[in-house]
């Protein structure tokens, strides 16, 4: 078992929370993990990403090689394309369909390009709103990507509960968001 996962988006979108939950779930399945994160300058509204490796064997590289990501999960369409070159031939591309308007770009062209690459576009904003909070958008996308992760849904759900253990209401909202993403 080896999964290379790229999580990307814009600083402040909750990418590290997604990865934290994946890591908790992976550890429940006895997997090792290694994650490269971005700290510092780019966190100010710039592109951010995390490279997350899960494996039942020792992991060396902090960075995923080009063409070897099993999943690129993006909180923002333009950022999905910025990391698309990491995708493996059979890798999955899952992206939020909503643009983050802190820069100008041709949204339609970007969405069309994601479709051309057979990426899944998720209206995560609407689903998060249904779940009860826009802040749960990352959990919608986690749900939408669950199939590509190769982890048990029940472990991911347990992980969400653990990650938000101090705030029960928030945990409920996030579980709901995860479920909505899962159903698609």
């Amino acid at each position: 078992m080896k999964k290379n996962i790229i999580l990307c988006g814009v600083g402040g979108q909750g990418i590290l929370t997604i990865s934290k939950i994946i890591v908790i779930a992976a550890m429940k399945e006895g997997l090792q993990f290694k994650q490269a994160e971005v700290h510092g300058m780019s966190q100010r509204g710039g592109s951010v990403y995390a490279h997350l490796h899960l494996s039942d064997k020792k992991i060396f590289s902090p960075i995923i090689p080009i063409g070897e990501a099993d999943l690129v999960l993006s909180m923002e369409p333009l950022e999905a394309l910025r990391h698309a070159h990491f995708l493996a031939k059979k890798g999955s591309l899952v992206s939020a369909s909503g643009k983050l308007p802190n820069i100008q770009y041709d949204e339609l062209a970007v969405l069309a390009e994601i479709k051309r690459l057979k990426g899944a576009l998720v209206d995560s904003r609407a689903l998060a709103e249904n779940a009860g909070s826009l802040l749960s958008e990352n959990m919608v996308l986690l749900g939408a990507s669950a199939g590509a992760l190769g982890l048990k849904e029940s472990n991911l759900e347990e992980a969400i509960k653990e990650a938000f253990s101090s705030k029960k209401e928030i945990a409920e909202t996030n579980l709901k968001a995860f479920g909505l993403g899962l159903k698609g």
Partner: protein
């Protein structure tokens, strides 16, 4: 115990378990998380931890702890070591008492830095011992050992990190916290008073320690190798080892360097049967250069950055290492449209943006030279503001403006954050006040070390006014403005008035960092 930590945090935890009594630092990516972690847990650990004014004062505080017999950690980013250089080099000459470890995080690829200098050269320059971990576990294990070695050798020991290691999160195995050293107030005058007579003796002692350093490096279990047959072998260090293992699974014979000075005899022995040696390392070609004198080169080829096989600038990645090894790089998915860049930018509601709007209007079309400094406000160099024209090193804006003013570009303007001003700008302002140079210093006081994630600053509120007055700036020309859209006209007027005055002025643009405000600071 198993713990999930960042590389930086693993090093910090290793230092705690090695029995440190204190840790000092100035924030700087990618080293910041070492001290953030220690501050978060300082009560549990029972240690003293603090952010200092700059890396030099941080180093000196750590050395003071060491002179009093206790163990101390000082951490910084690579360019911070330049600031600490005077204390750093001389501490090796004076020697230490309690274990003193210097954690330096290099930033190859310049993710958040002005250069990609390689700290291994500076450790060699100071003639001290260095560890280079390749993962968080090693960062922890090496920190534990570094303190023992520092006391054994009587010199500071460096641990060199790089961005990809500082910011890698993984699970590590940890042990127990060792007790702290007892206070020892014995004063070693002949060691520490570096008057020429003593300094000559001390430097001689440092030279005589060098074979001991080499011996420690030769026997270190962190230097590992995998023997094998064939023509070709790899000599690698730190994170480069990870890419090598990822690409080959360790199928080639390799020697992994983890300590400096290089374990020369071990390397020489390992390389004896190989005709081609590929050197993989993050940063400058430090090992590659040394290899030329370690192994006989007539009969063999050494490749790496100096040979041109690997690009000199920037960090390594899986692809550059694969290429160097002659392994095919996978064909990437092609994105057929061009992608807009998303550079870092000011947060919505950032006080710096309002200040730059006022500054640009006050300046108008005049040819006033404006020099910037290091912090979030450096982003004011980018459109739509394009308001500052330099970012050289911490505190430089003050004397760049003063120098330009002396050259005839008067008035000239320096733009600096409150924390950066305290870090490195104050001595230059004393000069400007003494000579009453026609320059204006804008202190962007957001009461936060913002770019590195919102650490606490040294001088807050009206204390900043008193500080500046104390440095000699006339109170009539210390102005305070609040950078807010509603105060724009008023701020422009004040700036214009000060631009028209032919002497030194300081304008404090004071409003709390928007991120700190959200976090409910103060």
């Amino acid at each position: 115990m198993k713990e999930v930590v960042l590389g930086d945090e693993a090093l910090a935890l290793g230092a705690v378990h090695a029995g440190i009594s204190a840790a000092f630092a100035y924030p700087g990516t990618p080293s910041t998380e070492i001290t953030e972690f220690l501050i978060r847990h300082r009560e549990k650990f029972g240690i003293h931890t603090e952010w200092c004014s700059n890396e030099k004062t941080a180093f000196e505080a750590a050395l003071g702890v060491s002179f009093a017999g206790k163990r101390a950690l000082v951490s910084m980013k690579h360019v911070g070591l330049n600031v600490a250089m005077d204390a750093f080099v001389n501490a090796a000459v004076s020697g230490i008492k309690g274990g003193l470890v210097v954690a330096v995080a290099d930033d190859p690829g310049m993710h958040s830095s002005q250069n990609e200098q390689d700290s291994r050269y500076l450790a060699e320059f100071a003639k001290i011992f260095t560890f280079e971990p390749c993962n968080a576990q090693e960062a922890y294990d090496m920190a534990l050992q570094a303190f023992d070695l520092s006391e054994k050798l009587g010199i500071p020991v460096m641990i060199r990190l790089v961005t990809r290691l500082s910011h890698v999160r993984e699970s590590i195995q940890t042990g127990k916290q060792r007790g702290q050293n007892a206070l020892d107030t014995e004063m070693r005058l002949r060691d520490w008073v570096l008057l020429p007579g003593n300094a000559r003796n001390q430097f001689q002692k440092l030279l005589e320690k060098q074979p001991l350093l080499l011996k420690e490096s030769e026997k270190s279990k962190f230097n590992e190798s995998k023997k094998g047959k064939g023509k070709k072998c790899v000599v690698c260090a730190g994170n480069a080892f990870n890419y090598f293992m990822e690409a080959t699974g360790g199928s080639l014979p390799y020697f992994k360097v983890s300590t400096y000075p290089l374990p020369e005899s071990k390397i020489r022995k390992f390389c004896a049967s190989f005709k081609e040696i590929l050197v993989l390392e993050e940063g400058y070609p430090y090992i590659e250069e040394k290899m030329l004198s370690i192994v006989r080169c007539k009969e063999r080829k050494i490749t790496g950055k100096m040979s041109g096989l690997i690009q000199m600038a920037g960090e390594l990645n899986p692809e550059s290492v694969k290429k160097a090894l002659g392994i095919k790089v996978l064909e990437p998915v092609k994105v057929k449209i061009s992608l807009a860049q998303r550079p870092p930018q000011f947060c919505a509601g950032c006080p710096h943006a309002d200040l730059y709007r006022a500054l640009n209007e006050a300046k108008g079309s005049s040819q006033i030279m404006v020099f910037g400094d290091i912090g979030c406000y450096t982003l004011g160099a980018l459109p739509p503001f394009t308001a500052i024209s330099s970012c050289i090193c911490m505190g430089s804006s003050v004397n760049l403006a003063r120098g330009a003013s002396i050259a005839g570009a008067a008035p000239s303007v320096g733009v600096i954050g409150d924390s950066t001003f305290v870090h490195g700008g104050m001595p230059a302002l004393v000069e400007a006040a003494k000579h009453n140079n026609n320059m204006k210093l804008l202190i962007l006081d957001n009461s936060t070390v913002a770019m590195t994630g919102g650490q606490e600053t040294m001088v807050k509120g009206d204390a900043m006014v008193e500080l500046i007055a104390g440095l000699g700036v006339p109170r009539a020309h210390i102005k305070i403005i609040e950078p807010l859209p509603a105060r724009h006209e008023e701020n422009v007027k004040i700036l214009k008035e000060e631009f028209a005055y032919a002497g030194v002025s300081v304008i404090i643009s004071r409003r709390l960092c928007i991120q700190s405000l959200k976090k409910g600071f103060r």
